[in-house]
Amino acid sequence: MKNRAKIEVCEDSLLIDKKILVFGDVHLGLEESISSRHGFPRLHLKELSEKVNRIFTALKKRKIKITKIIILGDLKHDFGSVTISEWGDVRKFLQKLITFIDGDQEDKLIIVKGNHDNYLNTITRKENIKLVQNYVYKDVCFLHGHEMYQECLNKDIKCLILSHLHPAIIFDDGYKSEKFKCFLKGKWNKKMVYVMPGFSLMSIGFSLNEVIDKDYKNKNDDFFIINNKDLQKLEVIVYNNKDGEEYNFGKLKNL
């Protein structure tokens, strides 16, 4: 039992054993891919930095020191190549993250490769950052979620932490309808799984409970390693940044 990692939710990221911070789907460069460069002030990086500051300020208050950050894939958005502003943004963002990590150990920052991260190695090589397909810590395996790897199915692995899905949930009371980012948590293939919301500020995510997206997802069952039917069995957790509370809404299928 001593090798069990302790996992808690912390604003769009997970905190492992009070020392490892993990988040995924940052999608740097998203702004640029959908907007014209002219007359458009780019804000995503700035807002992401503010978000990271906020998380670390909260952790500091709790006297928690982070010794490792794991980025769970899709750090950058552009599939094709590394655009000039992505270069700058990715490097700035990574340099910023490193300043928050305590200590001088190896592999302070780990990037798990996502489906958008082609060509990322050109940057990570320069910054001397480890780029992996998946990463194991104690009984926990971290992977992006677009592909499954043999080693992650190992019996010793008790927990999978995934991103890629951008889960969100829509609540509707007949008067009002709002969309929230959410975590999914529950048993799958005899393992515990956590699905993280996207860390990006540009979009909330794909709603899992609305008719629309259900049909949409059915068509794309190979989008995510957990199929839609099994997703329904996971519990929905919404984290409230304002007062740091978690709300468990029970299983997705009941919503």
């Binding site: 959908i34 907007s35 002219h38 002030p41 700035k46 009002k176 540009m202 008719v211 629309i212 997206d213």
Partner: protein
């Protein structure tokens, strides 16, 4: 500032006009006409004497020829003396591209014929050239024009603006003597605002001050339109030609009783009526109010009477291709079409040949528009225009009856000219900077000569300069500044090599609207294309909304690219009407007239005059037939006995509990006022109650639905003074502001639709503007283009000024508010409630909502668990 009153032009003497005509022109004129028309008696001499003039006349009064006659006369004289210079003497700008035939009849043919007369007489004339420059003119033709400049240039407002920045073309403008603005009544929008600055720029370039001639259909207020034509500090004459064609106007209902008849019968008898009308006339134009309705009417007529309508019917609206529209116009002129169904695109003066009947299907929403549409029938001066209103429901019936009265009495509702539009200003300043280097003060003074910018503040002007110079940006290096502004020398000029190209390919004020195909997402017929909706509508609907398309109900699910995916087989009621985005608002003036009619009706009922007398009154008042009067009588009878009749002096506020709590305002002021009024009240209620509120708006009133509706508190808080501030806050997060912002951002060239030859899709523009808006909100609330989007929503889309007026009436007790409770919506409220909501005001905090829902979900879970036990 008070409106300047301009002198009215006097009718000039026949002999006086003949006296100034060149013998060739005189001979030509009297070979064609026996006498001058009224507008010619007013106009020709004044143009000859180089006086600015606005000529307002009904269609068919020879306005176009009036403007050209004096100018042709002048040019012929020069040509005779071989004194014609290589320059543009006259610019004719019209909002229509398709004016060819009108120009042919009134300019090219006269010119040919005069030349012919000269030839016979052996008089040698220099060639007078006419050039056409629109968006469709080829580069070759433009080149040719530079070598041999046309003496008369025919153009559109957009093309005129482009030529004003084209280096070589400007040289041809060095001494323009006349500018004719045609169809000026249709320029009460940003196109007109745009043109008003172009005219000032032209005046700046030209050494001579060109005479401005405005041609308009019947329009009001004339003085404002004249001011708009000539700008500030210039004189103008107004010629108002009243005598037009005689009109024969009637309101018709397809059935005896609009409420008791079931929908199917109503439908078939309405089309039966239309068919009868069409068959008993030679050529008919049917006006509907929306493009969707236009298509619907064509397909219903074809379906119901396949033997009668096949090749001889077609649609004409702005979403159809140019080729299609030209083809329809040609076939109309050639008499090949029996009937054409249109929305607004045939309202303007496109020559469509001989039409003997105009059917107005549904209210045209204003008397000027009604007259304009009816005037399309019987084009010649002494013909009679036959106009028939065919009504679709009971509100429409009352509205049409009153509009018909206004049209018969020739009472015209007033147009609205937007002012201080900062997006148009940005585009024009950019254009000016491309043209040359300006002194800041000189530029400001030029702009203030335009009527639309007479009150432009220095602050607004400077904030536009700052925006264009790239000073607003967070990160300077990423922002593309369009001009440079030197604070030391106060000079302004263009920046960047591509400036001219960017300007020319992105110019214009009409927002780009695109259409989205609607596709079935699942079930039988999966992937099949159902039809098209316009992008404005797409922005209104949320996933889960139910709407009607082609007579069937669909639930909107999601969009992907330029496709909207929907589910079919829906039984729920529509949550959003599909024509909503393109609805014409009822004009304030006409709305007030309907309110006055309601008041008269209320009085008759209170006096208990009895059915016969009241019907007699309706017949006299609205000049309508007995069955129409009877239907109106019944509608009012039910309202009077069920609840109360709201009218011009009384707003009835009706409360009832249906599936939700409803509060219905019977405020008949047109949608533009109701939009503003309802949002202000809803916002105040939302502030008090902390819950979201559903709002439904129509021309006749609005309703609120929600859990808590503290109406009394809201009404106490609202007054004419705080209205703007409340509305500014209320529209802050609305879809409509976002959408208008996108349009303004495109107009002010923040979002380039076209860059280096690549066109940006509307979808991409939307995304850009979304991010742009969130960025700007963080930079400054007073960013000029955001400010403009707000102004456009409050002043152009809504009517904040008239809303203020209504609030003043309420404050002074001129209009009373009367609250009543009903068990069911009253007859007058029915259409309003059935139409569904137009917007949802979001008030409650997202987190509070989350907590509330969580509690409810937990309760459910606990219950379930208890059951399981």
């Amino acid at each position: 500032m008070k409106q300047i009153i301009y002198p009215r032009a006097k009718l000039r003497k026949f002999a006086e006009i003949v006296g100034v005509l060149d013998p060739l022109v005189e001979e030509w004129f009297f070979s064609k006409f026996s006498d001058f028309s009224e507008s010619q008696l007013y106009g020709v001499m004044n143009v000859h004497e180089r006086k600015n003039i606005l000529i307002s006349a009904p269609t068919g009064n020879g306005k176009t020829l009036t403007s050209f006659l004096a100018i042709l006369n002048y040019l012929i004289r020069l040509a005779r003396k071989k004194e014609l210079e290589e320059k543009i003497y006259c610019i004719y700008a019209s909002p229509l591209k398709a004016l060819n035939n009108d120009i042919y009849v009134n300019l090219l043919r006269p010119l040919e014929e005069i030349e012919h007369i000269a030839k016979i007489k052996g008089i040698e004339l220099q060639k007078i050239r006419v050039g056409l420059r629109t968006g469709d003119t080829t580069a070759y033709e433009k080149q040719k024009m530079l070598k041999k400049p046309p003496h008369i240039l025919i153009t559109t407002p957009e093309s005129l603006a482009i030529t004003l920045t084209a280096k070589k073309f400007i040289e041809l403008f060095y001494c323009v003597e006349f500018v004719i603005i045609d169809e000026i009544h249709s320029l009460g929008n940003k196109r007109g605002v745009y043109l008003s600055i172009s005219l000032e720029r032209l005046e700046d370039i030209s050494k001579m001050t060109p005479v401005r001639i405005g041609l308009s259909a019947t329009v009001a207020p004339l003085d404002e339109v004249a001011n708009f034509l000539v700008g500030m500090g210039r004189e103008c004459l107004i010629a108002e030609v009243k005598a037009g064609k005689k009109a024969d106007i009637k309101v018709l209902t397809g059935v005896e009783d609009l409420i008791e008849t079931d929908k199917y019968d109503l439908h078939s008898s309405m089309y039966g009526l239309i068919d009868d009308l069409v068959q008993s006339h030679k050529t008919t134009v049917i006006f509907t109010n929306t493009r969707a309705a236009t298509e619907r009417v064509v397909s219903h007529l074809k379906d119901m009477f396949p033997e009668k309508y096949l090749e001889n019917i077609d649609a004409h609206h702005s979403a159809l291709s140019k080729e299609h529209r030209f083809n329809v116009e040609d076939r109309l002129r050639n008499g090949e079409l029996k009937v054409v169904v249109t929305s607004t695109s045939l309202e303007l003066g496109i020559d469509i040949g001989y039409i003997d009947l105009v059917i107005l299907l549904g209210s045209p929403k204003g008397s000027a528009r009604a007259l304009q549409r009816i005037g399309r029938a019987g084009h010649k001066l002494h013909d009679i225009s036959i106009g028939r209103f065919v009504v679709v429901d009971r509100d429409d019936l009352v509205e049409c009856a009153v509009l018909a009265k206004e049209a018969i009495e020739k009472k015209i509702d007033r147009i609205h000219i937007p002012k201080n539009c900062l997006d148009v200003l940005s585009q024009q300043i950019y254009g000016m900077a491309i043209q040359r280097v300006w002194d800041k003060k000189e530029m400001f003074e030029l702009l203030k000569k335009s009527y639309c910018y007479r009150n432009l503040s220095k602050e607004d002007f400077m904030s536009v300069i700052s925006y264009l110079a790239g000073e607003y940006a967070l990160e300077h290096r990423h922002v593309y500044a369009k001009i440079w502004y030197d604070k030391e020398t106060n000079e302004i000029g263009k920046r960047g090599k591509l400036a001219r190209v960017i300007y020319m390919t992105n110019i214009g004020t009409i927002p780009e609207e695109s259409f989205v195909s609607v596709v079935l997402a699942g079930g039988a017929g999966k992937g099949s294309n159902i039809g098209m909706i316009d992008e404005g509508f797409l922005e209104k609907i949320k996933p889960g909304d139910v709407f009607v398309l082609g007579g069937k109900k669909y639930q909107f699910m999601y969009t992907k690219g330029m496709k909207a995916y929907v589910r079919g087989g829906i039984t729920r009621n529509p949550t959003i009407p599909s024509w909503f985005s393109e609805m014409l608002p009822l004009s304030f003036d006409s709305a007030l007239d309907i309110g006055r009619f309601r008041k008269l009706m209320d009085e008759k009922f209170r006096l208990d005059l009895g059915k016969e007398k009241i019907i007699e009154f309706i017949r006299e008042h609205c000049y309508c037939e007995k069955n129409v009067a009877l239907a109106i009588y019944r509608y009012f009878y039910e309202q009077y006995h069920f609840a109360q009749i709201p009218h011009s002096k009384k707003i009835v506020i009706e409360t009832y509990r249906g599936e939700k709590n409803y509060i219905i305002f019977h405020s008949l002021y047109g949608r533009r006022v109701n939009d503003a009024l309802s949002r202000a009240i809803a916002y105040l209620m939302g502030q008090k109650a902390g819950r979201d509120i559903e709002i439904g708006i129509s021309d006749n009133g609005f309703y609120f639905a929600g859990e808590r509706l503290p109406i009394d508190e809201a009404l106490t808080l609202l007054n004419p003074k705080n209205l703007r501030q409340i509305l500014d806050e209320a529209i802050e997060k609305t879809e409509v502001l976002k959408r208008r912002f996108r349009h303004c951002a495109a107009r002010s060239l923040m979002i380039l639709r076209n860059y280096k030859g690549r066109r940006k899709s509307v979808g991409k523009q939307q995304m850009s503007s979304f991010f742009l808006l969130s960025a700007i909100n963080k930079i400054s609330k007073d960013f000029p283009i955001l400010k403009e989007a707000r102004r456009e929503v409050l002043e152009d889309l809504m009517d904040i000024e008239k809303t203020k007026l209504v609030l003043e009436w309420i404050n002074q007790g001129d209009v009373v508010l009367e609250k009543i409770n009903t068990k069911l919506p009253s007859p007058f409220a029915l259409n309003l409630v059935l139409q569904g909501y137009s917007d949802l005001l979001k008030i409650e905090d997202k987190i509070e909502f989350l907590k509330r829902i969580h509690k409810e979900v937990m309760k459910d879970i606990v219950k379930k668990k208890e059951k399981e036990k």
